[in-house]
């Protein structure tokens, strides 16, 4: 009967497998959910959700599936059992009912009642009318005593209340990025190779050599494995990038961590790359892009970060740079294409939310560089693209820009 809950979870991209679902069923058969919704909430989460980033989606699914069960209705059980413990409440019953009840002692009654409640829970998921319908139950007209039945809110933290709070919202994968998370995502950006000082014992080779040497031990050493990936990072700063500055500094902190890459260089640009990039964020120490390309190996990974939002003229017109002294003879678009042509793999990470991409200059730049959103998901996809290549994500339709700008030069 819970199978819909499984699909509710899967619909929210919580990857619950059959394996895990069977484990949940097994656990429930063992009574590990403590026969309560709270217990079920914890049990199902602990068995089916293996990532804090998915806890929020789980809460959502839980709310959607159990929305008809009011936390108040759950308290009903307790209230009713209490009421049964209190003989005064019997006064409200009719004479026949009392007669019907006489045959049962309190313990037995409670047992029967609890059992009946359980059965009813399984039949109606409305759940708020557990007692009252069907005249055959000895508790049938229980509802006649509104005082004893009054249901109090608050108190205790029910699963619904917990799920409703959605405490795990901030852990969602598509929202936050802290240095550590970026760190983890960047870890994928590696290509191990043996380089450097020979300091690691190569056991297999030692045995091999020793055998060939007729048992005379010959020890063989080899260099340890190191990351050989080289990264060139270009960052857009200032202007429309200001709201993203905190995120940028986190990305930079993670990427520049020592020993991460075999070679790591970073430069700044404003809006779009023209003929120069800068060593500092104040744009005082320029480096000509032509020089940069000359000193960059083709197998370096080029990573650009920026919102790629600008006036179309700034991107498409020759000399479109806002800085007059730049005297750019080629358009920003052209410079970007030169960069893209030089490096074997390059990617652009964009802090702007993806829904704002269509219909902007982002579309044009995405036709030059593989563009990924600067979220945890986007970062890990981008890193995979940088290492293994593959299909570039499609963003909008850049062809309409060709008409608008009178042809992209």
């Amino acid at each position: 009967m819970l199978i819909d809950f499984l699909f509710e979870l899967r619909a929210r991209k919580v990857p619950v497998s059959t394996h895990e679902w069977m484990a949940l069923m097994e656990a429930m058969a063992m009574g590990l959910h403590e026969s309560s919704l709270d217990g079920f909430y914890r049990l199902a989460r602990t068995l089916c959700v293996k990532d804090i980033a998915l806890y929020d989606a789980y809460d959502e699914a839980f709310l959607a599936y159990f929305k008809d069960i009011y936390p108040e209705a759950l308290k009903l059980t307790e209230q009713l059992l209490e009421w049964l413990n209190d003989p005064k409440a019997f006064d409200a019953l009719t004479a026949e009912q009392r007669k019907a009840l006489e045959g049962l002692d309190l313990e037995k009654l409670r047992e029967l009642f609890a059992q009946r409640l359980k059965e009813q829970k399984e039949r109606h998921d409305g759940g708020n009318r557990w007692v009252g319908t069907g005249g055959t139950s000895p508790f049938g007209t229980g509802g006649k005593n509104p005082n004893a039945m009054r249901v109090g809110g608050g108190g205790g933290r029910s699963a619904m209340a917990v799920a409703d709070e959605r405490r795990f919202k901030e852990y969602r994968r598509d929202v936050v990025l802290d240095v550590r998370q970026i760190d983890v995502a960047l870890r994928g950006l590696r290509k191990l190779g043996r380089e450097g000082a020979i300091e690691e014992l190569d056991l297999d080779e030692t045995i091999d050599k020793t055998c060939k040497n007729a048992g005379e031990i010959e020890v063989v050493f080899r260099p340890p494995r190191r990351n050989r990936v080289k990264v060139l990072l270009l960052m857009d700063v200032g202007g429309s990038m200001d709201p993203h500055s905190e995120l940028m500094s986190r990305l930079f902190t993670a990427a520049s961590r020592s020993g991460r890459f075999a070679k790591f260089r970073s430069y700044y640009f404003h809006n779009c790359v023209y003929n120069a990039v800068y060593e500092d964020a104040e744009f005082r120490r320029p480096v000509q892009v032509t020089d940069l390309l000359q000193h960059s190996d083709r197998d370096e990974k080029l990573v650009l970060v920026g919102d790629a939002l600008m006036h179309p003229a700034e991107l498409l017109d020759p000399g479109g740079s806002m800085y007059l002294y730049a005297q750019a003879r080629a358009s920003g678009h052209e410079w970007l294409r030169r960069l893209a042509a030089h490096f074997r793999s390059a990617a652009w990470f964009n802090p702007e939310p993806e829904r704002f991409w269509p219909g902007t200059t982002i579309e044009v730049i995405a036709s030059v560089f593989a563009m990924y959103p600067l979220t945890l998901d986007g970062l890990s996809h981008g890193v995979r693209y940088l290492v293994r290549g593959g299909q570039r994500p499609q963003v909008g339709d850049p062809s309409k820009w060709v008409k608008m700008a009178g042809g992209i030069r």
Binding site: H19, M30, L32, T46
Partner: protein
Amino acid sequence: MSEAFDQFQGTASYIASEELKHAVNVAVALARPLLVRGEPGTGKTLLAENLALALGMPLIRWHVKSTTKARDGLYVYDTVARLHDSRFGDQVDVRDIAKYIKLGPLGEALAAPSRVVLLIDEIDKADLEFPNDLLHELDAMKFRIDETGKEIAAVERPVVIITSNNEKELPDAFLRRCVFHYIQFPNRELMAEIVRVHHPDITDKVLDNALEVFFGLRATPKLRKKPSTSELVDWILALKKAGVDLARVSGGIPFLGTLLKTEQDVELVGKRAKA
């Protein structure tokens, strides 16, 4: 409900939240590994120690490092020692391979005569493929020593606690087999309880002041590394040792270095204090 459920209720020196107790008990009942994640300093490793204490089982630890291989956990075949013995050993029978096989922590846990608690600490430190290499052994709870052909199978499935700092994504196939729990950072009430366990003689006033400062620090935006539970406990110890009364100190937090570990953070907090 099986009577064995609810075995773990925390110990005198370890305060566990309801959710954590439940997760531990589910893992014990289902005999599946429990994967514990959470911020550093939330007591992931201590959990295994205290679980072993509460269940009265021996604890076997396996501290995973970046160079750890899954096979090392099962057993190590000391080829170099055998080679050495074959050349220089006096009256050693090098034909007996079993002498050169040393069981690793996981191997030991499976070979143990009774149920044990096995802690696989910081599984994410190892190579990405590491958890995958353990899948079969954790599922079947048995393995074969190839060199001798001997099979080692657990008499009783050990209680396996695995901790991870979220540094790496763990493979799905591995996650499927685990019971998962994320230790949330304790709220103020739970934290007060935890501190009391470590410093039973602390007065309400001192505790209140300390927690005020501590949670104030944690709430500071843009902090690179938020102070954790263990750091709070250390800090209170430092305060006690030095006989500092927090209520009387004005301007700056004493022993800030025990709470904040990067100079940027210290600077940031200093700036905010002045403002």
